[in-house]
């Protein structure tokens, strides 16, 4: 055991409890070794703040995002309907997720199919916890004097207009937040969206994540922060490509906050 308290909806139901929020872990967060660390950082924060949450565990399935973006509407809607049956079965009202792709799909595309929930990204949840005084950022590793740049995930930023929540969190770190020349609405994609994560890129003269990593390297950061497991993979690969992994860390906003709060 890792010491984390992660009840499933089924376990909670068995004890007659109802969670305040469902943590939608997502496929990356469940299976990808790097993304699992982000998942655990989110759980540490939730545990520390005594947030009453649960996960679906084996009852969770892909939201269908990559299928839909790749044009497979059938598969998307099959996944959506199955997930909605599960979610509605547990009478879920509020969902938090660490993946902007899940976030977008659950928030925007599920309601018409019968799944109406309040859906927030984990940076929004953490922002709320800090604002409510439930989470204080001190005691842990300090980021004083470090330069952090934030890479906007397309499905959080342009797709859903969430630009400020992750930035407000980073500003709490006592670090220097530097913006890349292309940021917020003008942010450049990491190259993984639209199901590109699961295929080789089409023929070109460069990989998109290399182009984006160059943007990041220009501002000479110590940390590249992201809010998406796919972006994390792409930026990590980009940093390795320039052999900068010794100097630059690619971390999720949740990991930075958990480290700073000594969780």
């Amino acid at each position: 055991m890792s010491g984390l308290k992660v009840p499933t909806m089924a376990e909670m139901l068995a004890t007659g409890e109802t969670p305040d929020v469902l943590f939608w872990v997502g496929c990356s967060g469940s299976f990808d070794d790097r993304a699992k660390k982000i998942t655990k950082a989110i759980v540490k924060i939730l545990n520390h703040c005594d947030v009453k949450f649960a996960v679906l565990g084996a009852e969770e399935g892909c939201t269908g995002d990559p299928a839909k973006r790749a044009g497979n509407e059938f598969l998307f809607q099959m996944q959506a309907m199955m997930n909605i049956q599960v979610l509605n079965g547990y009478e879920v009202k509020k969902i938090v997720t660490g993946c902007p792709h899940c976030f977008n799909t659950l928030k925007n595309e599920y309601p018409e199919l019968g799944g109406d929930y309040e859906v927030i990204h984990h940076t929004q949840l953490i922002q709320g916890l800090i604002n409510d005084g439930k989470l204080a950022i001190k005691g842990g590793e300090t980021f004083k004097g470090k330069k952090i740049t934030f890479h906007d995930p397309c499905y959080l930023g342009r797709a859903n207009d969430v630009y400020e929540a992750p930035r407000e969190l980073l500003q709490k770190l006592d670090a220097e937040l530097v913006e890349m020349k292309r940021c917020k609405t003008n942010g450049l994609c990491c190259g993984a969206g639209g199901a590109q994560m699961f295929k080789e890129a089409e023929k070109g003269n460069k990989e998109v994540n290399i182009e984006r990593t160059e943007d990041a390297l220009e501002v000479k950061p110590n940390v590249i922060a992201t809010g998406c497991p796919f972006c994390n993979t792409m930026m990590t690969d980009g940093v390795k490509n320039f052999e900068k992994e010794g100097e630059i860390e690619v971390l999720d906003v949740a990991e930075l906050i958990a480290t700073a709060a000594d969780l």
Partner: protein, 444 residues
Amino acid sequence: MIAIILFALLLIAGGGYFAMNVNKIRQNILLGRDIDRSDNKKERWKTMLLVAFGQKKMFQRPIPAILHFCLYAAFVITQIELIEIIVDGLSGQHRIFRDGLGGFYTFMVSFIEVLSVLAFVATFIFLLRRNVLKIPRFNMKEMAGWAKMDGNIILFAELLLVCFIFMMNGADEALYNQGASHYNTGESGSFGLTISQFIGPALFGGMDAHTLHIIERIGWWGHIIMVFGFLNYLPFSKHFHILLAFPNTYYSNLEKKGKFNNMEAVKKEVELMMDPTADPFAAPAPAEGEVQRFGAKDVTDLTWKNLLDAYTCTECGRCTSSCPANQTGKLLSPRKIMMDTRDRLEEVGNNIRKHGKDHDDGKSLLRDYISEEELWACTSCNACVQECPVNIDPLSIIVDLRRFLVMEESKAPSELTTMFTNIENNGAPWQFSQADRLNWRDEQ
């Protein structure tokens, strides 16, 4: 009298031909599938006012925005003078509004003159940007040939238009100085037009009244002929955006950009599959109306808004210059998607008018215009949608073409087919068992 008849004929012919071509475009746009954009009228007016009228999104790039604004303001305000020209032309009068408006008339025409000079300078800089500085987005592959020429024709026409305005006003000022203007023969002095009162005498000062009358008339007729020429060039040109920008922003997608539509036809089938009471051996319910294909193969499978987008596109290339796929050398260019859609739609529309509704020329938007390689390069990042100054959505066309490839032809890159299979079998895009989804909980 002959002049009045000639003018009336020009007005009828110019207006009529324009109306005919606009109607053709309207018919073409209505070939698209229906989509409901009749909701939320207040928000729609607001979007149109801000984005089209106020040019809000142009100002993402300040230099072209300011230059463009000069042209735009000159164009809009000049319409007032055009009304006078038309009334003058039909009545045989000269500067008919001057008596009634007095000082305000001088102010208006002066204002138009100042804007015209600004527009002239802006147009000149635009020509430099396209042809001398060779700004990359104006010199990409899809801009070769007609597209490049189209842009230059418009800019030259605008220069010429402004020249005629100053020929007209300048010569009139010179005539007025001599007390020989049509406006009020006998009176002399100046109209007081901010620019022409100087350049008129400077350019035409030494000429006799007869020559000046001819120059003034050349300016007047030249101007109005250019206006009608320009108007009738619009339906054949990317420049049609000056009109369609308004309806196109009104009918903008007001949802979050990340939200892709849920296909109704698919929803019905999936609901049937999920329904435990459905009889699997029942005969399928008879299809209501025409059976639609899934996704889009040709322009007629797209929505009318997609098609309106295509006619609104002025090929500025902001979408393509912000596209991550394009920047990294992939074949995809969102601007080309819009240009292809328009070109194919023109072709389909002409075919229908020539050969009847059910004519099949054996071609389609997919493959004959847009290749699979272009479509699979898209990351669906919405940068193109964000950038477009008139709210065009190239991504929605890309996704509908992908839907056809995947659902009608089962044609996707093999890795994506594997991803689909994984989701189907184990609920994740990778080959992990769904039962293992919570294993991370117990890992150190």
